[in-house]
């Protein structure tokens, strides 16, 4: 039996193996994904993003608990940055979620951001479909919001929750620049810390200046470690879900994301194809000889080579 069929049969090991193939860019993944994409997408993909240590995993854990109480299967994809030096990573998001480890209705996968050709979103979008095929109707995607990560999460999530903390007070200025635009909901976590009120006011102000788009970004104050405010967050998430489902917003969002995903697959395949036809090192050197005596410049020569491909 292929992995796709085994996954549809509920085989967790098959799901985790296919997730590895996706991460590794293994050629065998495509055949399995062709089958999996015939199965329905998850009904809801929730993105959790925000600065390191804001409480994203703790919130994910609490939300998983709520969804499980309703008997739903949940998937979590927790993305952490890879070390740019060694290429390795310590993936510690599970620490906050281990009470669900033995629950067959929860599938948690840690992913290092690595440096995928199609960016984080291509691999993560495929991974979401693996979790969906495993039976997870809701999938939570956690990414650290440090730059690239936040933008990518909008490419896979229907609803994006920006998690921030009072301690990040001075960083809110920085957050304003990019991250606020992608937030559908802001969770001000660690509401027990001093200056929570100040932080709440400054976030409220930041959103007031946002051009009206029909959806008013709600601010939800949480103390995830104590499980407080999670009910309010869950209902804000549901409200946003209803909002985008009405008026065709969800459909447009998913279409734009599907097109983005398609483009990254096409680009990746094209690059592979072209790379295979490029002259090898020896041949390049042979051609480059003309550069040294000044008989041609590198740009004209490059155009010649491209024409001849």
């Amino acid at each position: 039996m292929g992995l796709a069929a085994a996954i549809a049969n509920g085989d967790a090991r098959a799901a985790s193996r296919l997730l590895s193939w996706i991460e590794d860019g293994d050629r065998r993944a495509a055949a399995e994904l062709k089958e999996l994409y015939r199965l329905p997408a998850p009904s809801s993909v929730l993105g959790l993003t925000g600065p390191p240590g804001a409480g994203k995993s703790t919130i994910a854990d609490a939300l998983v608990g709520r969804y499980r109480a309703r008997g739903e299967r949940v998937g979590v994809l927790a993305v952490d940055p890879s070390s740019p030096i060694s290429g390795g990573a310590v993936l510690g998001d599970r620490i906050r979620m281990q009470r669900h480890a033995t629950d067959g209705g929860v599938f948690i996968r840690s992913m290092a951001s690595r440096s995928w050709p199609g960016g984080l979103s291509r691999a993560a979008a495929d991974a979401v479909r693996v979790l969906a095929a495993h039976g997870c109707r809701t999938v939570i995607v956690e990414t650290v919001g440090t730059g690239q990560g936040e933008v990518d999460v909008t490419r896979i999530a229907d609803t994006v929750v920006l998690v921030c903390t009072p301690a990040a007070g001075d960083k809110i200025q920085a957050i304003k620049a990019g991250v606020l635009e992608i937030a559908d909901i802001v969770a001000l976590n660690k509401d027990d810390l001093p200056d929570a009120d100040v932080a709440a006011r400054s976030i409220e102000t930041a959103f007031r200046m946002r051009p009206p788009g029909g959806w008013r970004v709600p601010l939800v104050r949480t103390r995830a470690r104590d499980g407080e405010g999670i009910g309010g967050l869950a209902s804000a998430i549901e409200r946003h879900g209803r909002f985008i489902a009405g008026g065709g917003i969800l459909g447009r969002k998913r279409l734009a994301n599907a097109a983005h995903h398609l483009r990254s697959i096409v680009r990746e395949r094209l690059l592979e194809k072209i790379a295979a036809r490029l002259p090898d090192d020896r041949e390049m050197e042979r051609r480059a000889a003309r550069l040294l005596d000044g008989s041609i410049d590198p740009y004209s020569l490059a155009e010649e080579i491209i024409e001849s491909l």
């Binding site: 967790a12 090991r13 799901a15 985790s16 193996r17 997730l19 590895s20 590794d24 860019g25 890879s82 070390s83 030096i85 060694s86 290429g87 390795g88 990573a89 310590v90 993936l91 510690g92 599970r94 620490i95 281990q98 480890a101 033995t102 599938f107 948690i108 996968r109 840690s110 290092a112 690595r114 440096s115 050709p117």
Partner: protein
């Protein structure tokens, strides 16, 4: 593209000392491994289920509570039940020399005592995982 090896570093047992486990996790990261770290006080059931979901090639167990003779073999047993007996299980922490043969018999591939250099563990994993 280079494919990092995924390893789970887990702490079974009731002791709360994770210094050693964290040192190993960081050393492995610096050697290019992807390390899933799950924190202290994990049951063998949690560890095995995590190893399966994370599709790791190896599980490193660190136990300082003295319960390794019960806990380490139990992890191997559950992995085998889950059809994941191919995942390499190694151990460390405070394990008396005389317990090592029994652990190896139970399927623990290697045991690293206190004072093991992290380079030794890295070498071992690179040699054992192809």
């Amino acid at each position: 593209m280079k494919k990092p090896i995924r390893v789970l570093i887990a702490k079974p047992g009731l002791d709360g000392h994770d210094r050693g486990a964290i040192v190993v996790a960081h050393a492995l990261r610096d050697a290019g491994f992807e390390v899933i770290y799950t924190g202290i006080r994990q049951t063998p059931e949690q560890i095995a289920a995590t190893a399966v979901q994370e599709d790791v090639r190896a599980v490193g167990l660190s136990c300082l509570s003295g319960a390794h003779l019960r806990l380490f073999p139990r992890v191997v047993e559950i992995l085998r039940e889950k059809g994941a007996g191919d995942i390499l299980v190694f151990g460390g922490g405070i394990v008396p020399e005389e317990d090592i043969p029994r652990l190896k018999e139970a399927g623990i591939a290697a045991v690293f005592g206190p004072g093991t250099m992290t380079a030794e563990i890295i070498d071992y994993l690179r040699r054992s995982i192809t």
